[in-house]
Symmetry: C2
Subunit: 376 residues, 2 copies
């Protein structure tokens, strides 16, 4: 039987929260990181291997999937879970962000956005109503309201009118969304770096009523300090009993700082994209496997990691695969990076449960500051 969508707070440590989200496709322990599965695949990973890293929810991209293979096609094939063989929870974005960053010849008006595909130039439209329809066709467990991603930097007046448009679209998203058991609709706070606008946006979304609240329009070049300042202003205005999602974030240090400020959910292409460019996250910072220093190194990438990559392969082998441009390089590095992120989230969850968030965060930062293990 499908459970009701629910978010349960299990523990707190300062503003940091340890929670559990129930969805139609399983529970998600929070704080959680969602690997990005843009085109109905977490790149270079089989879904069972994504699950093996510890991920309980992934993100799918409305923009990419509406272009190819199309939401109606995925629906006819049984929905996104079945299409890509991922039986756990899926959150889909609304398409708003990618339309701004990828599509061509955009025309925005009150009704929505008309644009041309970056793949073949064909014409599409997105609106709150169409975004809700697409996300329903995909079968998203968590649907995101359709918003306009405010460019950065933006003057306050530009940011205000963009945010106000997003709030009108949020209302239309809520009206068009068809509630289903175990499924949720999240609103997205906008307002750029302006506290007053962020508060107005949060207030508007609370008035409309959502199952969860995302903070959007960050990680777009404003820098960690300003991002944290926006969170300091915004998060206290969000309801305590609903999950909070910081969209598109981020580096490990960004995630730790955002969890400290009360964020529960994250997504970012960093661990998967880095896996395809020979960058690995380790407990001692990032490592570039292309570097010749690894060519003869028999040690694992991250001596403290128990993932399938670190327990079976040397840095020398990973370096060789990168240099030879073998497909196995992104496979093994993505697997490690996703495990690194999943382990980080598990460590943060444990820290909050134990009331030791500050100490654990300080230890993680100190270890990363040490830098990579010295050459042999």
């Amino acid at each position: 039987m499908i459970p009701d969508f629910a978010f349960t707070l299990l523990a707190r440590d300062g503003a940091a929260r340890r929670g559990r989200m129930a969805t139609a496709h399983g529970t998600v322990e929070t704080p959680a990181f969602m690997p990005v599965g843009t085109a109905a695949t977490v790149k270079a990973m089989r879904p069972e291997d994504v699950a093996a890293t510890g991920a309980e929810i992934i993100l799918g991209n409305t923009y990419h999937l509406m272009l190819r293979p199309g939401a109606e096609r995925i629906a006819a094939l049984g929905g996104l879970h079945r299409f890509m063989n991922w039986p756990r929870a899926i959150l889909t974005d609304s398409g708003g962000f990618q339309v701004m960053s990828l599509a061509k010849l955009r025309e925005i008006d009150e009704s929505g956005v008309t644009f041309r595909s970056h793949l073949d130039g064909s014409r599409f439209t997105l609106s709150p109503e169409r975004s809700m329809e697409i996300q329903r066709l995909l079968g998203a467990d968590i649907t995101m309201a359709f918003d306009e991603c405010t460019p950065f930097p933006a003057e306050e007046e530009q940011a205000r009118s963009s945010m106000e448009l997003s709030m009108r679209w949020a209302e239309r998203s809520k009206a068009a969304y068809q509630a289903r058991r175990g499924h949720a609709l999240f609103g997205i706070v906008q307002g750029s770096i302006y506290d007053e606008l962020r508060l107005a946006s949060a207030t508007a979304l609370r008035a409309i009523g959502f199952d969860g609240f995302a903070v959007g329009g960050l990680a777009v070049g404003e820098g960690q300090e300003r991002m944290f300042r926006v969170l300091d202003a915004t998060v206290p205005a969000l309801p305590e009993d609903r999950p909070r999602y910081l969209m598109g974030v981020g580096k490990p240090a960004d995630i730790i700082g955002a969890v400290r400020r009360g964020i529960d959910l994250f997504d970012c292409v960093l661990p998967t994209r880095s896996g395809r460019t020979a960058q690995a996250f380790t407990r001692r910072g990032t490592v570039n496997l292309r570097n010749a220093r690894h060519a003869a190194d028999p040690r694992p990438l991250d001596p403290d990691c128990v993932c399938a990559t670190c327990s079976q392969y040397s840095r020398a082998y990973l370096h060789h695969l990168v240099r030879a441009e073998e497909i196995l390089a992104p496979m093994l590095l993505t697997q490690h990076n996703l495990r690194y992120y999943a382990d980080l989230m598990a460590e943060l969850r444990g820290a909050i449960e134990a009331g030791r968030f500050d100490a654990v965060a300080a230890r993680l930062a100190a270890r990363e500051a040490e830098g990579d293990i010295p050459p042999l």
Copy 2:
């Protein structure tokens, strides 16, 4: 304890043989197909997944590995098995074939070959002695004698002098090879399409004495009919009690015909390379997943296949991955293709045991002739 290298004939059906090869890294049921692991990886596959397809032995390429990362480096890292995390048997080629097909500025004389790397132009030499040393450094279970791959087509006199050079190199290979328990040295029959030369080559190799015998210089453009004719002339001249390996072959129909003629071992890039170009082998012939006819097809690639790809994904999804150029496409298609080849070999082994080789081969050919399943 490491067993002696041994080849045991378990059954026959006409000239077809069902055998078992014992090596330092496990047994190999024959007839067997060896996936190609050129650069210390079977492309797009994790080694545990290669094993899961049913493969018990893979091929490694001396030429590629001597160039990058280097045989001495692999030896320092514990040998090829450990380097690439493949605990089962490995056969390495001698480097002769790839020097002819890939290297630049080759100079051949009686001593060996000097050439420049196709990767960075750096200068290398290969000789029977150096090839034996490299294959020992890699830790090959089965080492191949160093030969000159005769170009095709070749006049009889050119083929004769090339074959005679290979026989002198075979003698030097045998002299330089350091026998180790559980390990084997195979000689390679050359002689192009000339029966008399093939017989002379087989006789020369038998006189030198090898643990197994390969047929080289085929699958180079001569066509299936001429290839089978060469096998008809050559195989009867090989000793009954040693494994026989047809190098670089081939398509399923080539393999079936060669098993019928008494061949025990095969290798070919076809299943792995095809997996990277959207070509899939099925029990009803080859299928091109790029073709739009698959775009909405919810059925598995091969309805008679039980591999992880066919049991979990639709043709529509595979088509989508191919069109989106996702890494998961070669991963899933290579996995299927290798399983197809492994299942084919298992079916042939069962047919020989049951004394039904002709009937099974006819059934396989008839099924393939039917063509792909009709569109929905």
